[in-house]
């Protein structure tokens, strides 16, 4: 971190969420691909394993990371392609955080009861 102002935090969160999403993507494609072994294959056993609460909390964090990464990505595109973007980059980052939270709260209300309630 270089004197940690907003732009630095925006970059750090973008980097951390991006790496997390990329690694999750590899795992996700692999485990969904287990459907190829058919209904009696390893697929259901794998998914039951992932339905345990620590992994579901992890998935919520990945979703939060995706929302942040998407919105901050839009911010980056505006910075790159508009004449006025740089001037408002700090405000736009707070906007990104606010919208991420605004999307995140209803998502939490939807998913947390599923986890606490035991889900499947």
């Amino acid at each position: 971190m270089y004197r940690g102002r907003e732009g630095q935090w925006a970059y750090l969160l973008h980097r951390v969420s991006g790496i997390a999403i990329a690694l999750y993507l590899l795992l996700h494609v692999f485990d969904i691909s287990l459907v190829m072994w058919g209904p009696d294959g390893p697929f259901n056993r794998f998914l039951l394993f992932y339905h345990q609460w620590p992994f579901r909390i992890g998935l919520v964090l990945i979703i939060a990371g995706v929302v942040y990464h998407a919105l901050n990505g839009l911010r980056i595109m505006i910075l790159d392609f508009s004449q006025w973007g740089i001037k408002y980059q700090r405000g736009m980052w707070y906007g990104v955080l606010i919208v991420t939270t605004a999307i995140g709260i209803p998502v939490l209300f939807k998913i947390i009861p599923e986890i606490v309630g035991g889900g499947a």
Partner: protein, 148 residues
């Protein structure tokens, strides 16, 4: 794939002319543009994907039956194929930037990339197989049909 100026050509360019010919590929510019275009498209694809499987569905109830039903729909296959291709390219290029930032020794950097990209290529192949054949039986059928 970009020519990494640190791990790329063994013989160093000796003139400006050589250097231009060696390094002035526009691949980094192309990746830069790609990250923005793919990023924009991915926002819609990924949000739709998450909405379908985490909001409209209780992700804790997803099982073989659910995925089989989804993959039986041609629209899901097409959408997920774009998702797979764009997300992997976007994600792996992002990892490449990160690897270049955090692994300074050329030897280590090279092998980390070999491992990550080999893994990603394997995952891509497996993903395409799952999306377009779905079961090994169907894949066997598809391969047999190719021979005729």
């Amino acid at each position: 794939m970009a020519t990494d100026t640190r791990t790329g050509p063994v013989t160093r360019p000796r003139t400006l002319r050589d250097a231009r010919a060696t390094y002035h590929t526009n691949s980094e510019l192309a990746w830069w543009v790609f990250m923005r275009i793919s990023g924009f498209v991915l926002i819609f694809l990924v949000f739709a994907h998450i909405f379908a499987n985490n909001i409209a569905t209780n992700a804790g109830t997803i099982d073989y039956e659910y995925v089989a039903q989804r993959l039986a729909q041609p629209a899901v296959r097409v959408m997920d194929s774009f998702l797979l291709g764009l997300a992997l390219l976007h994600g792996m290029n992002g990892l490449r930037y990160s690897i270049d930032d955090y692994f300074k020794r050329p030897q280590v950097r090279f092998w980390v990339k070999v491992v990550v990209f080999t893994l990603a290529a394997g995952i891509f192949v497996v993903g395409v197989m799952a999306l377009w054949t779905f079961t090994f039986d169907e894949m066997g059928e598809a391969v047999r049909n190719l021979g005729q």
